[in-house]
Symmetry: C2
Subunit: 558 residues, 2 copies
């Protein structure tokens, strides 16, 4: 059988006009701002009109610790949305929008896969509705105003060696990681060390995704700390009078984007911050809008549940006052065998011993969801043809010991039909009352909060700080940033801060090496190591294969 | 009387839905790709369908040599379009789209002024339909692939000291003019001198504006020279296999943008290359589309007629096979007095002597249009309240000696009604047959072509070359680039290469200091001095005044 590529499947699909999708959701044309025929932004002013209406049920899709074997969170989220619609529920997806840069590197597209995709996938993976570019422009306007301020006399006394705000571009461009700019003489700026991040790593992305409306967006931007003065006082975007123009640049980017699944169900695809130095979830605006118009809202969070779900609950739900109803934990038999020590090349073979050895990773994530966040959970096994019945039975038996059901998800191959079993379990779980809780009290000290996350979620023995991080903790507390949520930047490949420790390790401690404030986003970033915020291209970039024909049809995206 | 700001006038206007404007033009909804309710891209595939239909008349709006007193080309172009519609003609504007960066500097908006504007002016001045961002992304993808190629082994043997391709951003950011990138160690790129241009200065912008369809766009991109090898062979985008992905990034940017004037007449606003290192005209695609749907098409070119009109005729019309019908030369009495030696502060006073002394600037541009390009011309005097009857009479009398009529344009204050006199003269001129000619034969040598432009258009005694430029001329000729049009990068403030020589100077020579190939655009750039391709922000950037309210309404753009 010929296996079709994602772009083939997407291009063979005939989408409905986006206005039809919006109308079916109950969004009148007055609030629909078309971007071509199949994409639209929805005016946020509709949220005021709908303020009195009840919200739908919020379902988080998260995953086990990722391995080279893959998991398929976005694919499962799209398929679950289609599955819920198949069983007669009004379900809406609220997902992250992909970054442009990685499309040209190794990664390819990021709009689901197989028969569980959102379309038009080419547009979503390229410029989409321009959100990334708007974020980049706002980020870079602030950088330009900052350096211009110094060049024009530096009335604020900004120390060029203490600037923390970087420029950004939505491109995998390692050449820009470390630069010296302002060269060329007296009229050409002030020479200093500088560097670029990829746009999704900009604090502006995190802010856009956490803002509750345009005034909140502007207030958050005003609070951004761009660096420090010679006498160590923080300098903000407001000090540079940049927040108005930056918000003007973002006024349309703040509007959620509506597209559709291959089965013509609605999907808000809006915002996509990094899941390490930021919180890794789609925008609050999109989630709220989906909750107003859908009875069931399927959303996802980056990386595994120890990072993505933790931040979704402890940062996004806390700030936005969201109350989730259920969690879907995605796993594959192959990935669990990898956690059990099987090499990537041997994952096609049945191996019950390795599977059993890898299961603790899944079970520990499950217990976190149930016991820390106190939410009902279902395990979605993203099916592969190589999975054996014995393997699937083993996963099911182990999960049942924790009172958790397993649903086989075949959405990649079958679309919504392959997600009906999962959808039915999700509907059942959403009827259960829950005592949703956070993993830490935001008013505790930075150290206490980090210990809570490390012990309760990572199952570490505790947290250590480098001398530098200890000093930063003291300074941030003195500056009044002590009572903000914590965003841990940690490897996604392990519960620990060591990517080699697979499964569910124990007897380890977490070392915090760096603490910085994202004052606009409203969290402290705690780094356990170096985080790459500007990817590079591989030896043969995916860009070399991308093409477009004379009618404008794109090929080579996958 | 309260003078309203441009943004006030624009926001008080109630635009029609863009689909209504398109429908009235004869463009069916199938080809209209909405960007919100008041902007659309028009699918270029419609040009194939309309290939057999006759074209409308093409009218170029150009100007005398600019002074601090201002001229108002875009305002006149918009007002003339409205004026033509007022007298019952089906007229369409085809204009340049503004760059985002300068909006935050000194310049403010660039969508006409007063009652002769295109709307929505806030959107047009900010992200519009994303064309600038797409150009920036394509430009920067090529840069990233270039540096990645070197990092990954440099199979092509590119000399990092001979890279000519720069990165770009649509921001006034002097800090990026001269940088060193690739710092930080072996895995972080190759340290080299580099720099940024503002996006509109990218060759990609020139290419987009000259491409006749998507295949031509891709072929032009493939030919871009990004630098040279250690043994001095040119390296192209095709050598880096970048043209497919770059074209994919530009597939929507190539589609002309349709908006409307305050009087609900159609305006294509598409592409805006620099008028020094590039050719300074809106896209060929937009001009062609306007000609298919309008009986009269009003277009403009950057700077004065010695630069903008010269390049419009000798580069754009030549490459696209366009045949203009008439030229509007915009002047103000104030600017002519400035050319006659009056200081800016004294321009409000009647001064016939200075006016007469400044007239040769206007008359020389007029003669160029009539005698070199062999086109009928009208002078549009952009009216100011301080203009006296005696002054206007003097201008009229002098122009009549050359057989050219003068029309007073009051479109800034009165909209289309103030452009009726000009419109009537334009219609009359369009009925005259003309022998449109170029100022040089493209097959002549680089030196001959430059001498033709300098002698016939600038009225210089001839062209000199620096030793470096002479060497470049030889190399470019040997590389096979000898028979391409020439794009002169010269000060816009004088016919000469010395910005201090106002009026119509004589007895000077032009010095060519640098020659480079824009192989994708298809012209050789001849630089007579340093051209600023990355502006800076002023002491108090306009950005500090820009704001947006809680409904998304923008203020502080002017």
């Amino acid at each position: 059988m010929e296996i079709k590529s994602d772009i083939q499947i997407a291009q063979e699909n005939t989408p409905e006009k986006i206005n039809v999708i919006a109308d079916r959701l109950g969004i009148s044309d007055d609030y629909v701002e078309n971007y071509g025929k199949f994409k639209a932004k929805i005016d946020y002013n509709i949220l005021r009109e709908k303020a009195g209406q009840p919200d739908g049920k919020l379902i988080l899709v998260t995953a086990i610790t990722p391995t080279p074997a893959g998991e398929g969170k976005t694919t499962t989220s799209v398929g679950l949305t289609d599955g819920l619609n198949r069983i007669g529920k009004k379900a809406v997806a609220a997902l992250r929008e992909p970054s442009l840069g990685p499309v040209f590197g190794i990664k390819g597209g990021a709009a689901g896969g197989g028969y569980a995709q959102v379309v038009p996938m080419e547009d979503i993976n390229l410029h989409f509705t321009g959100d990334m570019h708007a974020i980049g422009a706002a980020n870079n306007l602030l950088a330009a105003m900052l350096d211009n301020h110094i060049q024009q006399g530096n009335a604020l006394g900004i120390d060029p060696k203490k600037i923390t705000w970087k420029r950004c571009v939505d491109m995998n461009d390692r050449q820009l990681r470390h630069i010296v700019d302002g060269l060329g003489g007296r009229m050409q700026g002030v020479p200093r060390e500088d560097g670029y991040d990829i746009t999704v790593a900009s604090e502006i992305m995190a802010i856009l995704c956490l803002a509750s409306d345009i005034d909140d967006l502007k207030a958050r931007i005003a609070r951004i700390v761009v660096g420090y003065t010679y006498d160590n006082r923080p300098v903000t975007a407001a000090d540079l009078k940049a927040q108005g123009a930056m918000t003007a640049l973002l006024k349309d980017a703040l509007k959620p984007n509506l597209v559709q699944t291959l089965e013509h169900n609605p999907a808000f695809i809006h915002g996509g911050p990094f899941a390490n130095i930021a919180h890794g979830c789609n925008s609050v605006m999109a989630t709220r809008m989906a909750l107003k118009f859908g009875d069931y809202v399927v959303t996802e969070a980056g990386f595994a549940a120890d990072l993505g779900a933790e931040k979704f609950f402890d940062i996004k739900c806390r700030m936005a006052g969201l109350h989730p109803s259920a969690v879907v934990l995605v796993a594959t038999v192959r990935a669990l065998k990898y956690h059990g020590g099987v090499a990537k090349a041997d994952l096609n073979e049945e191996n019950l011993e390795a599977l059993e050895k890898g299961m603790p990773n899944l079970l520990q994530h499950l217990r976190n969801m149930k016991e820390v966040y106190k939410l009902p959970v279902v395990v979605a096994i993203n099916a592969f043809p190589t999975d054996t019945k014995a393997e699937l039975d083993l996963v099911e038996a182990k999960c049942r010991e924790l009172g958790v059901n397993v649903a086989l998800s075949e959405v990649w191959a079958k679309g919504g039909e392959g997600g009906v079993a999962l959808a039915e379990e999700v509907v059942r779980l959403c009827e259960e009352p829950n005592d949703f809780s956070f993993s830490y009290d935001v008013n505790d000290s930075i150290e206490e909060k980090l210990n809570d996350i490390a012990k309760k979620i990572y199952h570490a023995d505790g947290v250590d700080f480098t001398p530098g991080a200890k000093k930063q903790m003291k300074e941030l507390t003195e500056l009044g940033f002590g009572a903000t949520p914590i965003c841990v930047a940690k490897t996604q490949y392990s519960f620990s801060d060591n990517p080699k420790l697979l499964g569910a390790p124990s007897g380890f401690r977490i070392t915090i090496r760096n603490l910085k404030i994202s004052a606009g986003a409203g969290f402290i970033v705690a780094l356990t190591g170096d985080i790459m915020t500007m990817p590079g291209l591989p030896k043969v970039p995916a860009a070399e294969k991308i093409d477009v024909d004379s009618t404008g049809r794109i090929s080579g995206l996958f």
